[in-house]
């Protein structure tokens, strides 16, 4: 009797276990179905309420010195190029800055009407100017009837917009041009409507990208896949001690490492140029020969592709070679021949990018800005969708394209003063490497044997990127997948030229370098540990890093 009672009890318990198990299994399946993306198990992107787990807040004394003054540190051709290359560079630069019209291929959808309009600052080939966003004027140029979307403002970043999902819920991720040629006096008959950005914004279905600078891209193109992999592997130990992993985006066809664009989605400058010409300006070309989104015949004004290889030299220039090449080839070659940005004060780059231990052992102190004016910079931490753009960060002095429109502040002036210290800048470089920023923003690579010539062959490239893609967490996630880069992943942005960049991060959400650094940390980000360490640095060391970056 006793045995049967025990058995009865155990049986009941077993039934209970089975029921729990069945419920658990059902929940497990449901959870698995709900889980999207590439993240598995407990390593996903879940906010936690863990105290100051966000590692937020740098020392309040450290401030962004602002856009470095003086002459542009970029925009010149590679050193040592031949006269033929120089002639091509000059002609191609003109083509890069040419304003397109519907007759030359603009539209029917577009974001701006020239390459040089977006890639403008601090010189042709760069990124958004800090003020006077040209997207405002182009919206109504030639009588066009476009409404400027709320996320484009006069002193905000030039932006493209991508929709995350299609109306049926499938992934989109493509560029949706801000403007239409409809209403322009030079595009009569086309009535293509703008996308309904207000509704898409309300549905949280829009993400932004800003123009990446293209200086030194010929050098980046001249880095072999093997070099990138070896340099990545060489930092494996440091990465592993910092929670950093990452990998490369690759061509689905060839397996080669792709390296251009915010997600390293483009394999070459030619592809970058061809795709941008089509997606940003609506100009069909020999890489992208069809108009986007099947526009009505009334909006297809030209024979396709609109940019084709010229077989006659209709207007001889200083470069016959350029004359016989298409616009996209000229764009690509212009960007390839652009030299690397030059730091204002030469850097004491450690050998091999990581320096011997004897290089220097102490981060020098520098005068630190003690007066800060948070209002001098603005940030859009909520990211994506609905923000009006920010006003520019204070500039220490006037740059050519920003004449008369800069603002200054006590904080920026003080920080700028600190930035003039070579000691601070080189201490900042050391701290940048030491604290782990350089685990992804790799200081140095070396090019291979480049067809561009001696200026690009076997030369040291201090671009501060590993060209790998990394999970940047929920705070920066844009929910767009491009190749191996999922919605959380971005390329380590090359930092050369950052001293004269007006807007930061893929969507230009901030003009404050401190905020750009802090926003590297969020749930799921590979940078969390490094940002935590950055936040533990002394104000002096943090300021040194900021000064170093603004010297680039």
């Amino acid at each position: 009797m006793a045995k049967s009672q025990l058995a009865y009890g155990v049986s009941l318990a077993a039934i209970a276990v089975m029921m729990l198990g069945a419920t658990a299994q059902a929940q497990n399946v449901a959870a698995a179905q709900a889980g999207g993306g590439f993240q598995r198990g407990g390593g996903g992107h879940h906010h936690n309420g863990g105290g100051n787990g966000g590692h937020s807040g740098a020392n309040p004394g450290a401030v962004d010195p602002g856009i470095r003054g003086g002459a542009p540190g970029a925009g010149q051709p590679l050193p040592g190029i031949s006269s033929d290359q120089m002639n091509f560079f000059t002609v191609a630069q003109g083509t890069f800055n040419d304003v397109d019209t519907p007759a030359t291929g603009l539209g029917p959808g577009f974001n701006l009407d020239s390459c040089g309009g977006c890639h403008a600052f601090p010189a042709a080939g760069g990124s958004s100017p800090p003020t006077n966003n040209p997207q405002i004027a182009v919206a109504t140029a030639m009588g066009a009837t476009n409404v400027v979307p709320s996320f484009v403002t006069a002193n905000g970043p030039i932006r493209e917009a991508r929709f995350v999902l299609n109306p049926d819920g499938t992934p989109d991720g493509g560029v949706h041009d801000l403007f239409s040629i409809a209403g322009r006096s030079d595009a009569q008959g086309c009535d293509l409507a703008q996308p309904d950005f207000a509704t898409q914004l309300a549905n949280h279905n829009v993400i932004f990208r800003i123009p990446p600078p293209t200086y030194g891209d010929g050098l980046i193109e001249s880095l072999s896949d093997a070099t990138l992999q070896a340099d990545f592997d060489a930092q494996a130990q440091q990465k592993a001690s910092l929670g950093v992993s990452g990998g490369f985006n690759t061509s689905g066809n060839t397996g080669n490492k792709t390296r251009f664009g915010w997600k390293a989605q483009n394999i070459s400058m030619l592809m970058f140029a061809g795709e941008a010409y089509n997606a940003e300006q609506g100009v069909t070309n020999e890489l992208f020969p069809n108009e986007r989104n099947n526009p009505d015949a009334s909006c297809q004004l030209n024979a396709l592709p609109e940019d084709a290889t010229p077989l006659t030299d209709a207007a001889p220039s200083a470069s016959q070679s350029a004359d016989f090449n298409s616009d996209i080839v000229q764009f690509a070659m212009f960007m390839r021949l652009l030299a690397a940005p030059t730091p204002a004060i030469p850097l004491n780059i450690p050998s091999g990018g990581t320096a011997s231990a004897s290089a220097s052992t102490t981060a020098a102190s520098t005068s630190t800005a003690t007066t800060t004016d948070p209002a001098a910079t603005t940030t859009d931490p909520t990211a994506a969708a609905t923000t009006p753009a920010s006003t520019p960060v204070a500039m220490a002095s006037v740059l050519p394209t920003a004449a008369g429109s800069s603002t200054t502040s006590t904080a920026a002036a003080a920080a700028s003063s600190a930035a003039s210290s070579a000691t601070s800048i080189n201490a900042g470089l050391q701290a940048f490497i030491n604290v782990g920023c350089a685990a992804c923003h790799t200081v140095t690579h070396t090019t291979g044997n480049s067809a561009l010539g001696t200026g690009a062959t076997n030369v040291t490239v201090n671009s501060f990127s590993d060209y790998a893609i990394h999970n940047m967490g929920s705070g920066l996630a844009d929910r767009v997948t491009q190749g191996n880069a999922n919605g959380f992943m971005f390329r380590s942005a090359p930092l050369w030229g950052v001293g004269q960049r007006a807007f930061f991060l893929h969507d230009g959400r901030t003009s404050d370098l401190v905020q750009a650094i802090e926003q590297h940390a969020s749930s799921g980000s590979e940078a969390n540990q490094v940002i935590g360490q950055f936040n533990m640095l002394s104000t002096t060391d943090q300021q040194n890093i900021l000064n170093f970056l603004r010297n680039l």
Binding site: M1, G35, F38, G43, H46, H55, Q237, G247, Q430, G524
Partner: protein
Amino acid sequence: MRRLLPLGLGLGLAAGLVGWLAWRDGFVSFGHGPAIALPEQGAVAKGRYTNAYFDLSYPVPQQWTTGLDGPGPSETGYYVLSTLVPTDDLNGTILIAAQDTFFSMKSYSDVAAAAIDFRQAMSQIPAMTIDREPSEMRIVDRDVWRVDFSGVGLYRAMFVTEIRCHLVSFNLTAREPQLLSDLAHTLDDVSYAKGKRAASASFPICDKGYASTENILRRVEPKDASGARFAPVPVRVIIDRDGMVKHIHVIHSSDEQRKSIEDALHQWKFKPPRVNGRAVEIETGLTFKFKGQQL
């Protein structure tokens, strides 16, 4: 004797509760196989970080809490297992991480070699000082190697050991040497997750090379997944004593790739693993490459 009925019910319900808790914490998978934890399924609860896969339990220091989640497992089998930070002033951090040695970029003969290589790498960083040369110690019956280093006002230590063919590391950072020392002492309180050697004793034998051609008796290729990524996909499998696939862990992939790989691997059969003539379970690794778009 009637008293045995509630006893039996109580025991049964307790067993049920344990079962539920085990499932909740990821120690049990229903369906294809018996209880298998995954490396990334450790968590902080009741003041301890506990990881069943690695069979370790670590007491979170007083006045510390979990930090931001790290990324999911990487394509090279790297895991951010947990991050811990102080509840108030950020004067230190703890990163618990693991690197699957089946898929790592570098391979080492043993933990000591990994520690020495790490020391060399740190010494190459500007303004970094090596404060403690690689040194061996024992923590809960395991050989652990420690390297201390410092720079730019941060004092750091890396403790690394090998568990189930993973380099499991505790990476400590502190603003003050004393805090680093205090944090290092907390590692003395690391213990087994499920009691002394209860789980460790039942770990499968890890063998990087077992999934070689001569050991594979039946092989079914995964179907190319739509929207597949081009990057290689690392997969850990446990092979039972009969050579059947007992458990599959697709470490980093798209959802489509994971399903494709799991569907294929469930059909694989291996030569039944033997060590000194004794039937054993083997844990090994495989890398799948999808072709992606065709030219």
